[in-house]
């Protein structure tokens, strides 16, 4: 401020910034550096710490369990990402129209987003119950003998993907609804004048103009899905026989079940590097794709 002395500024900074800054340093900045440090040690919380250089990272690359959890995470993403994007976009397009009870339907589609992963996972675990679950009952109505969803390594990940997509459709929908509102109605008016069909308008106006949103939603969903944990932990704990063991489940197991803090930290840094690369790509491409 004009006429503000240094002393005065310092006084106000102490009041306004210091509490947050201290918290930031203690609970965010230092832990980040600490995690990097720990990843070069063999610490188990109890015995003395040994600096082991790149041992943990070397071990990671030759650890079949780590690679399995990496592959499982990719499998999850391959199933989850397209489903949640396509269905989320479809819901947004449907609920962007002038229909009756629109707020009600939007609220219904958004409902799973506000509930906890634990609640959702427990409900779906019950739905996937092989003998008395609703899903296998519905399948039996059309003559299909449903599998033992969560105890069969072939189907466990599919069940986790279905649950996750169901929960997140509303979230993706909301982001797309925001994107749709940014498209000026004048484009559609012009297209109507030219006699373009609704389908044509969808592919020539809506989808191209939604590209920045689509890109943005893809990146967020991608980053979130690399961190998938809660639903896996509740529904399968990574089983059966490691079929749903994801990266974060693996980190959790090594840190808080086997107390290999160094090894788990190294794993978390691999996760960070993956997310970092995605973020860099996003920053590079975003400039090219933002067209409003």
């Amino acid at each position: 401020m004009v006429g503000m002395t240094r002393k005065k500024t310092l006084f106000w900074l102490c009041i306004f910034l210091l509490p947050n800054l201290l918290g930031f340093l203690i609970f965010i900045a230092i832990p980040i550096l600490g995690s990097l440090g720990i990843s070069f040690t063999d610490w188990d919380l109890v015995s003395t710490i040994h600096f082991t250089g790149f041992e943990n990272y070397k071990r990671l690359f030759s650890d079949p369990e780590f690679w399995k959890s990496f592959r499982n995470t990719i499998t999850f993403i391959i199933g989850y990402l397209p489903s949640v994007m396509i269905l989320g976009l479809a819901c947004a397009l449907m609920l962007n129209q002038k229909i009756k009870l629109r707020p009600f339907f939007r609220a219904v589609y958004f409902l799973p987003v506000i509930t906890s992963w634990v609640a959702v996972s427990l409900v779906w675990k019950w739905l996937f119950n092989p003998s008395y679950g609703l899903i296998n009952y519905f399948l039996s109505l059309i003559g299909i003998a449903g599998p033992n969803w969560l105890t069969d390594p072939q189907t466990a990940m599919i069940a986790v993907i279905i649950t996750s997509a169901w929960k997140d459709i509303g979230f993706v929908m909301v982001l797309f609804l925001g994107g749709l509102q940014n498209i000026s109605p004048s484009y559609y008016e012009a297209a109507n004048m030219d006699g373009a069909s609704k389908l044509r308008q969808l592919f020539s106006i809506t989808i191209p103009l939604l590209t920045p949103t689509t890109f943005f939603v893809t990146i967020i969903s991608l980053i979130n899905s690399f961190q998938v944990f809660d639903q896996v932990m509740i529904m399968t704990e990574g089983g059966p026989s490691g079929a749903t063991m994801t990266l974060v489940q693996n980190i959790y197991n090594h840190a808080f079940r086997y107390f290999e803090m160094g090894y788990a930290s190294a794993m978390s840094w691999i996760l960070f590097i993956v997310i970092f690369i995605i973020t860099i790509i996003q920053n590079k491409l975003q400039k090219r794709w933002s067209n409003y």
């Binding site: 900074l13 910034l17 965010i28 832990p31 506000i114 427990l122 409900v123 509740i234």
Partner: protein, 282 residues
């Protein structure tokens, strides 16, 4: 001709029927798990093992609810969740808004660099910080306590960022006039900035409350006793012991969902804003 066809009333009717059918079908898929959860919560164990499944219980019972409170410290879970979510929300709003004000309105040396450092840490996933945070909690003696559940969650870079954005949008002229009248930063913060940024506060508050209420991984790590478990963690403990008693479990789930549902119905707009904005976080 295309334009004629799409405009005819008959075509319009078919289109409407189709649209509503799909929307309703989607709605049923979204609601079905909730309906099934409620239905199960009011059924005895035996009624859950009946095919075809009954959506409306033949002999509805509230036994599951009384049982879940008797066999588990459900009330304690509920209290823990309320305490943790409320304190985290209020605390985070306070700490974030103060820092956001400093970053937006108090010029000081190295401000932009410091803020950039804040922003850079947003890229780092929570899984990286969780191990050192756990070790810190152990050192502080905060394991299995409210402090351990609450304090690390009070400092959110995202919250600081969100509020700073909102504060930056408030015209400088407003406060300059107030400064002329002899007001200080505290008065400006309270009388000018806070009232004008209310919607952003509401959004951040809702988002924080929801995240705290639904949080699972951190309580799982930082607490060890049933006395300190929050609802999501309590439910997972319930599952460990009564994995096959779905009636009991769905009653527990229902209890955990009702409060957040009530808040949602009350402040829908801010929930949706918050979720849309939280997209910026990761």
């Amino acid at each position: 001709m295309k334009t004629e066809k799409s405009g005819s009333p008959k075509w319009q009717l078919i289109k409407n029927i189709l649209t509503y059918t799909i929307i309703c079908l989607g709605g049923i898929i979204m609601l079905m798990p909730f309906v099934w959860m409620i239905s199960t919560a009011f059924k005895t164990g035996a009624a859950n093992m009946v095919l075809p499944p009954q959506f409306i219980p033949k002999e509805p019972t509230t036994a599951n609810f009384t049982q879940v409170f008797e066999m588990f410290p459900m009330f304690r879970f509920l209290i823990n969740s309320v305490v943790v979510a409320v304190v985290t929300t209020l605390g985070q709003m306070l700490f974030c808004s103060m820092a956001a004000y400093a970053f937006a309105r108090i010029p000081f040396w190295g401000r932009d660099k410091l803020f950039l450092l804040y922003l850079a840490t947003m890229m780092v996933p929570a899984q990286v910080t969780m191990i050192p945070q756990f070790i810190l909690m152990k050192q502080f003696g905060w394991l299995d306590s409210y402090a351990g559940l609450i304090v690390p969650a009070l400092f959110s870079v995202f919250g600081t960022f969100l509020l700073r954005q909102a504060f930056m949008g408030i015209p400088k002229e407003l406060e300059e006039a107030a400064f002329m009248d002899g007001a200080n930063h505290f008065t400006i913060f309270r009388k000018v900035i806070l009232p004008l940024a209310k919607p952003t506060f509401a959004t951040l508050g809702i988002l924080t409350f929801m995240q705290s209420w639904n949080s699972y991984l951190w309580p799982l790590i930082v607490t060890s006793s049933q006395e300190m478990a929050t609802l999501p963690l309590g439910l997972s403990l319930l599952q460990g012991r009564y994995g096959t008693n779905y009636g009991l479990m769905m009653a527990g789930v229902l209890i955990s969902v009702i409060p957040i549902l009530a808040v949602y119905l009350f402040a829908q707009k801010y929930f949706i804003q918050g979720m849309a904005m939280s997209g910026m976080k990761e």
